[in-house]
């Protein structure tokens, strides 16, 4: 079949579109209509051509391209892959059934069943084999003690099970929210403390992109109303055409659209020193991208960073780390109200970092005020 001639392919196309929507893509009637027109023109003879053509129509960003490929590969499968997939599914189901049968026996201690919620039982079933083994070994370590004092250890064992299963559940949820197709996203949602040496350049590149985008978004925001006081000659003449060229209605140029000023308060106290490389890079990138930004570093002292100093990042890094001014305790409160800040700055929050040791945390948190990056007490902080 080289040309679609029956309504069956339209039905398939609609079904495919529904699957794309389920992946979070916006698929409208226009896209489906375009896809149908395309398939009529190019036929189905070449799978790769069909894939690229449909991808061009349906996917509108890199993330959407990745999602599209997943759905396409799952939906338009050739016979061999279909069989292999069916075999794998059957094997997985058999394995699950075997585990389910063994689970009741495994979730017992001293002959009594361990009380675990149904959803956690499902977690136990899907746990990796090595994690289950680890849990078993841990329980076995307490078996002798529990034999001697059964009443004492029942709750303890129960809590070990519960804690392990909840941890596994959280890890599974984290994995589900991560985006495996986008390495940047992986880096963005990882704890800074778990960064390897090899991750640093990637993180720096990511920081630069974030700073650039942040600056781009800021420039798109405009002040409303008012004029600059400078005559708009063209507009005045244009207006004057209505009165035969007499310039009775003066028009003024709009206020120059300035970038919104961004204030970065950066914690370089002792607990934050290990993350200072990222924060320094962020400062430099922000300084490069948004010239009107003002950057302050604080520990027990608060100092404004000279943008020129940031141009020589090595020198500035050395200054921050070895001047002795920084790397001590945190006392922003004492310094925030100082004369350095008050007269010139009206700080409004435009961005804030999470309190946890993550670059960005997806969990809902209470709102905080203040435009601060890398701000935290007792070893907290992260990239904005």
């Amino acid at each position: 079949m080289t040309k679609p001639s029956s309504p069956v392919y339209l039905e398939k196309l609609t079904e495919f579109s529904r699957l794309l929507r389920r992946e979070g893509m916006t698929v409208g009637v226009q896209e489906i209509s375009d896809a149908a027109e395309l398939l009529s023109a190019i036929g189905f003879s070449d799978r790769e051509t069909v894939r690229t053509a449909l991808q061009t129509v349906f996917a509108k960003s890199r993330n959407e391209q990745a999602a599209f490929c997943r759905v396409f590969d799952a939906y338009f499968v050739d016979e061999e892959r279909k069989k292999a997939s069916a075999r794998a599914m059957q094997e997985a189901e058999e394995e699950l059934a075997r585990r389910r049968a063994a689970m009741d026996e495994e979730l017992t201690f001293q002959g009594k069943p361990i009380e675990v919620r149904e959803d956690l039982k499902e977690v136990y079933l899907t746990m990796p084999e090595e994690e289950r083994e680890k849990l078993k070994k841990r329980i076995d370590r307490y078996r002798d003690n529990a034999d001697r004092a059964p009443g004492l250890y029942d709750n303890f064992i129960q809590s070990i099970f519960l804690k392990t299963l909840l941890e596994q559940q959280m890890m599974a949820e984290d994995a589900a929210t991560g985006n495996a197709d986008d390495p940047d996203a992986d880096l963005l949602y990882r704890e800074i403390s778990s960064f390897q040496e090899s991750d640093i350049p990637k993180a720096v590149a990511l920081i630069q992109r974030i700073a650039q985008q942040l600056s781009g978004e800021l420039t798109a925001k405009r002040r409303r109303g008012g004029h600059s006081g400078v005559l708009d000659f063209r507009a005045t003449i244009r207006r004057g055409l209505q009165t035969g060229g007499a310039l009775t209605d003066l028009r003024y140029k709009k206020k120059r659209m300035r970038r919104r000023r961004l204030v970065l308060l950066c914690d370089v106290s002792g607990s934050m020193m290990q993350f200072s490389e990222f924060v320094l890079q962020f400062m430099k990138s922000l300084s490069d991208a948004a010239e009107s930004s003002r950057i302050f570093v604080f520990s027990e002292e608060l100092r404004e960073v000279d943008p020129f100093a940031l141009q020589n990042l090595d020198g500035f890094r050395h200054y921050v780390r070895h001047s002795g001014l920084f790397g001590r305790g945190t006392d922003l409160g004492r310094r925030a109200g100082s004369a350095l800040l008050r007269p010139s700055l009206r700080i409004r929050p435009v961005h804030h970092s999470s309190g946890a040791l993550r670059c960005q945390d997806r969990r809902p948190r209470p709102r905080r005020t203040g435009a601060a990056a890398g701000q935290g007490q007792g070893g907290q902080g992260g990239l904005p």
């Binding site: 916006t26 409208g28 226009q30 896209e31 375009d34 027109e37 395309l38 023109a41 190019i42 790769e48 051509t49 690229t52 053509a53 061009t56 129509v57 996917a59 509108k60 960003s61 890199r62 959407e64 391209q65 090899s198 350049p201 990637k202 590149a205 630069q208 992109r209 650039q212 985008q213 781009g216 978004e217 420039t219 798109a220 405009r222 063209r234 003449i237 244009r238 004057g240 055409l241 035969g244 060229g245 659209m257």
Partner: protein, 287 residues
């Protein structure tokens, strides 16, 4: 035009492209949809529009976007001086209604790229370059043109496109584009070429260059792009400049000394040059 014909024409223009790229261009052309191209700086986004103009034998109309770009720079402007002169000259001889009507006619209209592209008798290739540099308001203004192929000039009314221009929008992703704009476009992402493709590009653009030199340069460029410490990755244009410079210096192959001497053609800041100077992988295999 078939896909194969399009591919042939692109090859005739010495444009090295994958099947995937040709399919995307063909699809965009077939549906009459604007093509939004994203990718890092210097991967050849703008070049696609130029090559398509040549391949389709159409005029290339280019609109370079920047912050503050508005309708008067992108769409149209009235020739105010001429209008004022006309008022002064014809004030007594023509009725005011007639005079007013005549002032807002083609004679006084200054076409800017967007208007030019839709009023053209022959279909053109319209390149809207670096759309991410323009403001969101301008993006919204573009929607009418991209989806309805028409623009509205208050004094004249709606002007419908006489022919369908092939519209190419490029973005370096300096800021995220609106969903509305994305939805109206076909989408293409271009990455840096692999070594084989880079060699093919060098051979196509600079056929006089020694094959060994082309391969060595492509490998060196690939190594630099792979190096995460290099902040500004070399673009394809920089590759070509570098090869041309080496060729002009009479080098038949890339040497460590030649690389050091001409590194300024590829890397454009001091930090990157220092990093590259210490990159062992870059100098591996060079005499």
């Amino acid at each position: 035009m078939t896909k194969e014909e399009l591919k042939l024409r692109l090859q005739q223009e010495r444009y090295v492209c994958s099947d995937e790229l040709v399919t995307t261009l063909y699809v965009s052309l077939l549906l009459g949809r604007p093509l939004l191209i994203e990718g890092a700086a210097g991967v050849g986004k703008t070049e696609i529009a130029k090559v398509m103009a040549k391949a389709l034998d159409r005029e290339l109309v280019r609109l370079q976007c920047y912050e503050g770009l508005d309708e008067s720079k992108a769409l149209y402007e009235w020739n105010y001086q001429k209008q004022l002169l006309s008022i002064q000259v014809n004030m007594g001889s023509r009725s005011s209604d007639e005079l007013t009507r005549s002032l807002f006619s083609d004679e006084y209209l200054l076409e800017r790229p967007l208007l030019k592209s839709i009023r053209s008798e022959q279909p053109v290739v319209l390149l809207i370059d670096e759309i991410d540099k323009a403001d969101e308001e301008f993006e919204a203004f573009l929607l009418e043109l991209l989806s309805e192929q028409q623009v509205t000039v208050p004094e004249i009314g709606t002007i419908r496109s006489r022919t369908t221009p092939f519209v190419v929008l490029t973005s370096n992703h300096a800021r995220p584009l609106s969903e509305a704009l994305r939805r109206r476009c076909a989408y293409l992402y271009i990455d840096y070429p692999d070594i084989d493709k880079e060699v093919a590009i060098i051979e196509a653009k600079l056929p006089e260059v020694n094959a060994r030199l082309a391969l060595q340069v492509a490998e060196a460029i690939h190594t630099l792009r792979e190096n995460d410490q290099i902040l500004k990755k070399p673009s394809i244009a920089e590759t070509l400049d570098w090869v041309a410079a080496l060729n002009a210096l009479g080098m038949k192959e890339l040497t460590a000394e030649g690389l050091r001497q001409t590194m300024g053609f590829v890397l454009k800041n001091n930090e990157d040059m220092e990093e590259a100077a210490h990159d062992e992988a870059l100098f591996a295999g060079l005499s």
